[in-house]
Symmetry: C2
Subunit: 165 residues, 2 copies
C-alpha cells in the first residue's frame, strides 16, 4: 500500500454556533475572544459520548476549516507581516484543513455544549472533542519561535481583528 | 445541504516513526513517554511548510489512529476502570479517529523532524503539525473531571503501560 495515497474520510459529529459571521472579523484564537460565548450542537447519535465531559473546565474543539478553499505552504499570519511555513502557524489554508481551539466549557444541556472564549466561525463542522487535561496539555519551558517576537499588546490588538466587544 | 452527511477527505502529509511497535505497549500520552525519541517524515511536496518551525520547542502532532477499527461512545480509559463518554477521554476508538499529542521538537533536518516524548504507534499517518504556543495553549485554572481523581503515581504507572525504559 502506498500510504501517501491513502484517503481518510471524516464526517462531522456536530456543528459550532458562534456570533462570528465573517472570517475577517473573527478573533484568531480563544485568548483573543475572552467572554465570547457559543454553543456546540452534537448530533444526537453521538450524545452518549459526552458522558462525564461536563466535569472538565476546558475542551479542545477539533473542527474543519470549511471556508478555506486553498492550500498555501507559506503564509503571512495575522499577527506578523512575514511569511512563515504553514506548519509554523495556525492559519487555516493548510493541506488538511483541521483547526483546534481550547475553549472553556460552561455547561452541557442534553446534546448542547455551552462554551466561552470562542474564536470559531459560525456554522463550522465539528470533527472531535477532547478534554483538556492539565497533566497532558499544559507545558512550561516552552519557546515559540516567531510568536515570541510579538508583544502581548500587539498580539491582543491584531489577534482580535475587527471584533468589537 | 445536509451538513451531517458531508464527508471530508484528508490525506496524510507524512508518517510518524517510533519505537512503539505494539499498541498495547505504547504509552498513552507524551508525559508518560519522557525521553523516547522518534522521527516524523514529511512528504517532500509539503516540506516548504516547515519553514521556521524549528524555532518552536513543542509541536502538536495531529494524526490518524489507523489501528482503530471500531467506534465506541463509552470507553474505559487506560488510567481508570470506569466507563466514560469517549469525548471525555483521549481513547482512539472515536467517531473521527483523530489523535493529538504535544511532543518536544529537537531539530529538523530537511523534511525529517526529530521529536521526543513520543506516545504514538510506529507508522502512524500524520495529518497536520501545529506549533505549540504558550500564549494560546498553556492554561491554568483547569479542572479535569475524572482525570483529577487519579494520583500522579498511579497515572505514571498505568500511563506507561508495558513500555520498558
Amino acid at each position: 500500500m502506498n500510504i501517501k495515497k491513502e484517503i481518510m474520510e471524516f464526517s462531522p459529529i456536530g456543528v459550532i454556533n458562534t456570533p462570528h459571521k465573517e472570517s475577517t472579523k473573527t478573533p484568531i484564537q480563544p485568548v483573543f475572544a475572552k467572554g465570547i460565548t457559543g454553543t456546540v450542537e452534537i448530533y444526537p447519535e453521538y450524545s452518549e459520548g459526552l458522558t462525564d465531559l461536563e466535569k472538565f473546565s476546558h475542551v479542545f474543539l477539533i473542527y474543519y476549516f470549511n471556508q478555506s478553499s486553498k492550500t498555501m505552504l507559506k503564509v503571512k499570519p495575522y499577527l506578523q507581516d512575514e511569511l512563515h511555513g504553514v506548519f509554523a502557524t495556525r492559519a487555516p489554508h493548510r493541506p488538511n484543513k483541521i483547526g483546534i481551539s481550547v475553549v472553556k466549557l460552561r455547561r452541557i444541556e442534553g446534546n448542547i455544549l455551552y462554551v466561552e472564549d470562542v474564536d470559531i466561525l459560525d456554522g463550522t463542522p465539528l470533527l472531535d472533542i477532547k478534554p483538556y487535561i492539565a497533566r497532558f496539555d499544559s507545558r512550561s519551558d516552552v519557546y515559540s519561535g516567531w510568536q515570541d517576537e510579538i508583544l502581548d499588546d500587539t498580539a491582543n490588538v491584531r489577534g482580535k481583528r475587527d471584533y468589537k466587544e
